[in-house]
Amino acid sequence: MTEHDVWDEGSELSELRELHRDDQMPGGMRERLLRRVRAPSLLSLADISEGVSPGGAARPSWVPAALIGGRRSAGGAGLRRAAYGLGASALVAAGLALWISGPSPSLGVVPQQEPADSANARQLGRDRVQPSGDPNQAEMRVVGWFIPESLAHLAVLPPDQQGGCRYVFGLRPLASNSNVVLRVESAQCLLPDPLISPGGACVKVTADGYLGDDGHLEASRLTAVPARCPP
């Protein structure tokens, strides 16, 4: 049975087939998807086809592409889970290599117009989530604008790093024209979608975490929402 004309013309099926084939994807969705395919930097597709992270930084070959990009979805989660499995052995190998050679400098991607220190965090800091006696040990909440193209996957991980993920990106203060940049690092493997594919929009980020010794914010919780860009 390789013929499709088993059913009489004009039958219920041929009519339904016509209806089925007239069913077209809405224009907006089509445009979004095509834009992502044509401009791979907007999509995790770039990771697969050209080995480039959404932020444009080089992706190590052992880092599964699905860890970096893509919209969150049921299937996407499955893809990521599969990627974790694939990347696990590579992570172990990378960890062993690091253990032998000592820690490598992390990959800095945030534009350093001004040295990032705890003052930067204070400029973005809105409140302290869990105050403590030592201000540097308090969990901070910072709110700022995500710096486009600053997201990158750090190439190497310390041997004791749990989870196998480390991302870095930059934040600017919400209401300021200063060049202050806060470097934010996160060990979360799944990042909020707007960070991965901002799609040209401005993204407001709220990050909770602790200040590191070098002034960066070690974020344990991140939320990101597309927002109207500042004037």
Partner: protein
């Protein structure tokens, strides 16, 4: 033509296949964009393996696989309240039916609902074979090649799916006739 250009060309030509197949396979409208993106990821990753002239078959079979994964994951997840909106999102006017008048749209919706009710009764395997063969009109060898199954299995699934389809259409017709008789009876009273 670079691989990216070819992937973009394939996407441009066959995104509608992904859309309509995902809908027939029961993926809620709100999740089709995610699913389509996953299909495109596969297309980009394997673009060099896609034979010329078999692009549509590749996209269609990939959609079947991705939708199948989606179903498996979905069964483990709690119901998403936003699914309630699917009826609204997929109503006439959201897609290509926007230019039709209300009556035509309603008629189309009824017919597609009949198709959906037939597909709902089929097993997953039957539904996939039916959609690929009878709705997308791929050939049995093409489907067998893309899904990695024997041709006989595809033929058998299509045959059983058609039986289900006939049964559902017949029972719908009986139901419709009964409703019509009842309505006419009330009018004549």
């Amino acid at each position: 033509m670079t691989p990216t250009d070819r992937a973009a060309a394939i996407a441009e030509q066959h995104l509608d296949v992904v859309w309509r197949m995902a809908r027939r396979l029961g993926v809620p409208t709100g999740e089709i964009e995610d699913l389509a993106q996953e299909v495109l990821v596969v297309v980009v990753r394997r673009v060099s393996e896609i034979q010329l002239g078999k692009e549509r078959a590749f996209v269609a079979s990939t959609t079947v696989r991705v939708a199948s994964n989606w179903r498996r994951t979905r069964r483990r997840r709690p119901e998403d309240p936003s699914d309630e909106l699917d009826g609204v999102a997929s109503a006439p006017g959201s897609g290509s039916f926007a230019s039709l008048d209300a009556e035509q749209s309603l008629e189309r919706s009824r017919k597609l609902a009949r198709l959906t009710s037939a597909l709902d009764v089929m097993s997953d395997a039957q539904r996939e074979a039916f959609i690929l063969f009878d709705l997308e009109q791929l050939t049995a060898p093409e489907i067998a090649e893309q899904l990695g199954l024997p041709e006989a299995a595809i033929v058998s699934r299509v045959r059983r799916a058609r039986e289900v389809f006939r049964r559902v259409v017949a029972s719908d017709a009986k139901l419709f006739a009964a409703v019509q008789r009842s309505t006419d009876g009330k009018r004549n009273r």
